[in-house]
């Protein structure tokens, strides 16, 4: 590779002639400047380098990048670089790169450094020397402060939300019914198909899995108990909550995040309108109302799924199956399911809106907010399920 691209000539005293041949384009790969610097190291008397382009030289930024590094190296060693025999365009580009380079070092970077220094001096008049590297303890402390700040903002948001709901109840808040009904439609009608499919399949899966064990005791009819109790108490609400988190929570975060990016939320603030009151309250209310309704619907679909498998594939008596389901599902279980639904609705809506309101003002921020809303929502659902189950166990429900 070396003889093809570059060759050295020492025929003139104290001068190194570098002849550049062949393909110097980016696609052909870079040659390290150390190829030249090692030559210079072995000939310390060299005071000048003459760059010569051969006829077959093909070049683009690859050559300029190599030459730039070489020239910088030579400037440091006080070696003159003669570039007159390079192609004219290459000379211009190199001169431009060196000019920008010099400018950025002399003015731009220096100005930024100076400005930063000034700003630090202004912030810390007695401590102008900033800490360069952070120790583990400092990083730990920094992280702890970040978490505390984030918690403070979350509590602040929940407080705002509570105040706005208080104003809504007292009839003092500005509430747009059109927006609310639109969100209700999105949470309800638009989600129905997905809830139907998932709940039906979960009911079917439960019936299948239950039948494997119950078959051994000849007690397959008790599949009705397994499907009925599991779906009504927890599973319908959990599955609906997860669907809502992925669908509605994420969309809330994306919407509010985009509104944050587009300064729409700032526009509300300068109008003296609380963004929580205007944007968050209708969303939370819509989800909180729709979640229990969807949970009841998912209960029915889950039982239907179990029924279809039990009657269609396991050949159980349909009337007996429905009777046993009715016997298994007590009213208390329905209430437990509804409470799950209500709590999950609050978690999903608050997580989506909170992440949207906290969104950074760029496209990546919207992506992060959306992901974070779903993760927070699902984690919240699982934690809440555990807590509610524990409370029900203690209360004997």
């Amino acid at each position: 590779m070396l003889p093809e691209k570059i060759s050295f000539d020492y025929s003139i005293p104290k001068t190194l002639l570098i002849k550049l041949n062949g393909d110097w384009r980016i696609s052909a790969g870079f040659l390290s400047e150390s190829t030249v610097t090692s030559e210079l190291a072995s000939h310390p008397d060299i005071r000048q380098i003459n760059l010569i382009a051969s006829q077959d030289l093909r070049w683009d930024s690859g050559l300029i990048s190599f030459l730039l590094k070489l020239v910088r190296e030579c400037v440091q060693k006080d070696i003159q670089v003669v570039r007159q025999e390079l192609p004219q365009e290459a000379q211009k580009l190199l001169a431009l790169a060196l000019k920008v380079d010099k400018k950025s070092i002399s003015s731009g970077v220096a100005a930024i450094v100076e400005a930063k220094k000034n700003s630090r001096l202004l912030s810390h008049p007695n401590n102008p020397d900033p800490v360069v590297s952070e120790s583990f303890l400092e990083r730990f402390g920094q992280k702890a402060l970040e978490i505390t700040e984030s918690l403070r903002l979350e509590i602040d948001f929940l407080g705002d939300l509570a105040v706005c709901f208080g104003r809504l109840i007292r009839g003092k808040s500005y509430f747009r019914w059109d927006d609310f009904l639109l969100i209700v439609k999105r949470c309800g009608v638009d989600t129905l198909l997905l809830v139907s499919l998932i709940s039906l399949l979960v009911g079917m899966i439960l019936a299948f899995v239950g039948s494997i064990q119950l078959k051994m005791f000849g007690a397959q009819i008790f599949i009705a108990y397994i499907v009925g109790i599991a779906m009504v108490r927890v599973l319908s609400a959990v599955m609906t909550g997860i669907i809502m988190s992925g669908r509605i929570g994420a969309s809330f975060a994306a919407e509010l995040g985009m509104m944050q990016t587009n300064e729409e939320i700032d526009a509300l603030k300068t109008l003296g309108v609380s963004p929580v009151e205007f944007l968050v309250v209708p969303r939370v209310l819509a989800v909180v109302i729709m979640m229990p309704i969807l949970t009841i619907y998912a209960d029915l679909m889950g039982v239907l799924g179990g029924f279809l498998i039990s009657v269609g594939m396991l050949h159980l008596n349909p009337v007996e199956y429905l009777n046993l389901t009715q016997k298994a599902v007590k009213l208390n279980y329905v209430w437990v399911g509804l409470i799950h639904g209500f709590v999950f609705g609050v978690i999903v809506a608050v997580a989506g809106c909170l992440r949207g309101m906290q969104c950074e003002r760029n496209a990546a921020g919207v992506g992060v907010a959306t992901t974070s809303a779903v993760v927070t929502g699902i984690t919240g659902i699982v934690v809440a399920t555990a807590i509610i189950t524990f409370i029900c166990q203690v209360l004997g429900v």
């Binding site: 384009r25 093909r58 070049w59 683009d60 930024s61 192609p87 365009e89 290459a90 211009k92 580009l93 431009l96 920008v100 100005a111 100076e114 400005a115 000034n118 700003s119 630090r120 202004l122 912030s123 810390h124 500005y174 927006d179 639109l182 985009m258 509104m259 587009n262 300064e263 729409e264 700032d266 526009a267 509300l268 603030k269 300068t270 109008l271 003296g272 309108v273």
Partner: protein, 266 residues
Amino acid sequence: MDHLMRPVIEVRNLDLGYGDYVVMHDLNFSVDKGNIFIVMGVNGCGKSTLLKSLIGLKPPEKGEVLYSGKSFWDENEIGQQKIMRRFGVLYQNGALWSSLTIQENVALPLQLYTKLSSRQIQEVVSLKLSLVGLDGFGDSFPSGISGGMRKRASLARAIALDPDIIFFDEPSSGLDPINARKLDDLILELRDVSGATIVIVTHELASIFAVGDNSVFLDAESKTMIATGEPKALLANSKDPRVIQFLTRGAEASLPGQQAGSLNHE
């Protein structure tokens, strides 16, 4: 008489920053009633941060912003909202509420802060849309109109409550020269007919010279204001090379692309 002569906006010893990072310090200027005041400076110098502090979105680190003698940041929430009701703000990207039609966007401030019937609100909205040349577009959503129209719709919303102070954040950004000029003309007309005080944050030289009665120049390096005065007078009289370079578009600078030519040579 003294009250009448008092500036509408006074900025005193204002320091702006984000935590430890200082964006601007020692800002002192005032805006007289009915003036078009320009806040100018290069990208990233802190113009928008200053605007946020003026319109109540970001508290300063130090100093005061006074509106007709009342210190905004010393007021309680109700007092601040009362002052904010005197503002109209046109944001850089329009910031129209995307889920509402243009008409609903302009109507919202009226629904919130007036006791007008919906028919009367409709009439006022129609008037405001006519003033900005958007009559007939009321039923469109912000996503369905052009960037220039969005700006004008946003202006209609900003003037919905006949504010006595209107803030513009980079009004010409994203507009072609003709629409930018039209917006400048609209700003001048608006000031002339309503007597409103206008504050414009911009770095568009054409707009600065076309509409500015007074201005302040923010410098990114020294992180403070380095000049104040009528833009044309600043161009003619300023001795500061940073101000002159800005107001002449850095006349001595050349474009790198023109010198460089093509990058691929076979």
